[in-house]
Subunit: 459 residues, 2 copies
């Protein structure tokens, strides 16, 4: 019986126009990755479950898609879990593989597994889908692409400088002016917790601070107090809430706030180095800003933290993020390997470019010309010309059936094909083609050479 | 505790060099797809199970990777199957989604689901991974890419002619000369079964015939007899085994063999049309050949059947295949839509190009130049030049640490970077760069302009 076809929630079909636009963004990102010296790797869509489980916290473990073992999977099922009908406990015994949840953990696994073949520092990029069993909602999907660039094996701050430039280069290449690259440093956050005497509450402190633009100063302070941070302690960092001005001005205030914290001063030094270098090198279209509230999964990052905001006129969350994590590969037994990387949010960048009408008109590749089908002999005449055009790089095709003229012209219109060629007995005897410009309606009789010249100019 | 990292059997990590080579092939295929008027679509990695199950036969159903439902999946488990510990029966109730097994069924689902948005004939291409729980072996993986081009909504034989040309165009673009595009027609196979009076044994007959190059004439005849086809019947098609000569010569023999079969004659007519058209249009590097033993999953195809063989000097199975299937979308309730399409075997094409050394030397994109790091000031001087080079499209990077000269030069050597720039205090004061050609060892002092000119010429 016929099924009414549908796709799983949170997943998407992409039409030709959508694929073309997505590939346009990916290509621009890729070009810059390569110019900056990053090389592509790809990892399998599914990993052994133990590679992924426990790496993203409890919530993450739940959101990982597990693949059911093939064959008689119950034969190896955990008997006790089976009797207790405990889904969670049963899972490990009936599912050995799981779909990639992000690109970072597979990358860490890759580095450790191939450590002897790699030359360090190793700069890789990776553009592949990931899967999360999140509740689907606007702009959040169960299958989506991540575009990551990371360096492992270098603690140099020039990497951070390079990543700021890389963000600038990509968004400039995409014609997206006015993005803000926000930067912070985990050490500065540690410094704050230290100077208020609440180092043991670092996480609670930063989670609250991270919400400043959502719940406001009073909200943050309330949350901090609820987490047991004293009003007196909070008072000590009042100046953090009052931070204003440009990067250097903020740095100057931080220097006084964190004057007693070694780790805090180290963080400031790093931020200053990055900012000074960027000032010397200049950015094309982006702006670098210091945002001391930025945390982004604090437990992960150990140095710089990045986040990119779309231009202010667009309502959109972050369109990129990243940072430095000092022990990327430790989970797989290779310690003391520092990593730093950034990610581009393909779906959100897509929405921003769409909203600002920044996709080039030519992005949806289409054929340049449709040849009308007047019958067998005429078709053969046309196919020879089509072959000639394709050899010159021009996309062309023959309407496959000897249908009514109107139907064939409609087909060209619906596909938005800019030119149509009509070649009947007369054209064949003169070795000519009637070329019709579908936009202007203009028609002309042209030779093979003229035909390819006109179409090549139009591309 | 540290885990020894590994990946699931049948899956692969791809190194930068491998990704570059794979992308090279994909790009060449894609370029031709586009020139021939095919447009890209993408579908989700997993589909609802009912979209896939039952579409590939019993064996196929077993080889489909199922995704375990999220959360407390046992809550909805089939109670009876659970008590009986029947894995197969239990599956449907604990798994709603499954990984794509090929690109054809998702494409059929796509066409039916989006029928109102599509303009027919619809020519799509799709290059995405598929997953099969096959036993991994040499050249057979559990995750691999398919590269498909199909047309739906046209019964015109010009499509078949176009696909032969498309194969020729792609393999020509890849520099792979001497491939053979083998063609057959399901109607010819039906004709054979008809003229020997064994139409009800069509499948057994063609399955046996398909093995001619593996088990030889006697083997095929033996298998046919085992399936209940009489020696007398087999005798009637002795001339099929003796078929020799070029395309037209074989056609002439077929005409006498199938003179009493209407369906057989129709098949011959189609083959002749395609061959005559291709002769008129010419092929660049491929050869078209008639192979009446070709079946390729006969139940699927209703007209033309294609298969591409690598050049004879390479030991490799087929590197592409396809055909016409008259009721692609019927399984999803949209009948009378004819489809015809071809597929490229990415992994095998890769192996063939590797064996014949046909990958261009420049395929692995790498940076053109590494700037040696002599300290902070020098690095900033270098980064300004690097930015300049990148703006001109040249991939360049700075060694991130002020390491020993030898270590930095080794890094350039190991990554096979063709040029190195050394810029110390003297170079800075002269606004120059010392450029070293890592192959020749030659060194020269150049200005910024000269530097980019040299590097641009090398690309």
């Amino acid at each position: 019986m016929a099924q009414k076809p549908s796709i799983p929630k949170g997943t998407r079909d992409f039409s030709p126009a959508e694929v073309a636009k997505r590939n346009y963004i990916i290509q621009k990102i890729q070009e810059q990755f390569q110019k900056f010296g990053f090389q592509p790797i790809e990892t399998p869509s599914f990993e052994n479950s133990e590679t992924l489980m426990g790496k993203y916290g409890e919530e993450g473990d739940r959101l990982i898609f597990k693949i059911l073992n093939s064959g008689d999977f119950l034969r190896k099922a955990d008997k006790q879990a089976y009797e207790e009908q405990d889904s969670q406990k049963l899972t490990a015994s009936i599912s050995e593989k799981a779909l990639r949840y992000d690109l970072t953990v597979p990358f860490a696994r890759f580095v450790v597994q191939h450590r002897n073949e790699l030359e360090f520092p190793f700069k890789r990029y990776q553009i592949q889908p990931v899967w999360r069993a999140d509740r689907p909602q606007k702009g959040r999907f169960r299958e989506f692409f991540q575009c990551d660039a990371d360096v492992v094996g270098s603690t140099s701050l020039w990497q951070e400088v390079e990543f700021v430039q890389l963000y600038d280069a990509v968004f400039t290449a995409l014609g997206l002016q006015g993005v803000t690259i926000k930067i912070n440093n985990r050490k500065v956050l540690s410094g704050f917790a230290e100077v208020i005497g609440e180092s043991d509450k670092l996480i609670d402190f930063t989670v609250a601070l991270d919400k400043l633009d959502k719940i406001g100063e009073e909200g943050v302070k309330k949350e901090m107090q609820e987490k047991g941070i004293s009003a007196e302690a909070i008072q000590k960092i009042q100046r953090v809430f009052d931070l204003k001005g440009d990067f250097s001005e903020k740095i100057n205030v931080l220097k006084t706030i964190l004057s007693t914290s070694e780790v805090g001063k180290k963080g400031i030094e790093e931020l200053e180095f990055i900012n000074n270098s960027i000032e010397a090198l200049g950015l094309e279209t982006a702006k670098l800003d210091l945002d001391v509230t930025l945390a982004r999964g604090l437990n992960y990052y150990t140095g710089a933290i990045f986040e990119v905001s779309a231009p202010e006129k667009v309502q959109m969350g972050s369109i990129g993020g990243g940072g430095r994590y000092d022990d990327l590969t430790g989970i797989f037994g290779m310690s003391d390997v520092s990593g730093v990387g950034i990610s581009f949010g393909l779906d959100r960048i897509y929405l921003v470019l769409e909203e600002l009408d920044l996709f080039p008109e030519t992005v949806s590749r289409n054929i340049e010309v449709l040849f009308i089908n007047f019958g067998e002999n005429e078709s053969l005449y046309c196919l020879k010309a089509i072959k000639n055009l394709r050899n010159k790089g021009i996309a062309a095709e023959l309407y496959p059936d000897e249908a009514k003229m109107k139907k064939q012209m409609n087909h060209a219109n619906k596909r938005d094909i800019p030119f149509v060629v009509l070649a009947g007995a007369e054209e064949i005897s003169n070795q000519k083609f009637t070329l019709k410009n579908m936009r202007s309606g203009e028609q002309s009789s042209v030779s093979m050479e003229e035909l390819s010249a006109v179409l090549r100019n139009e591309e």
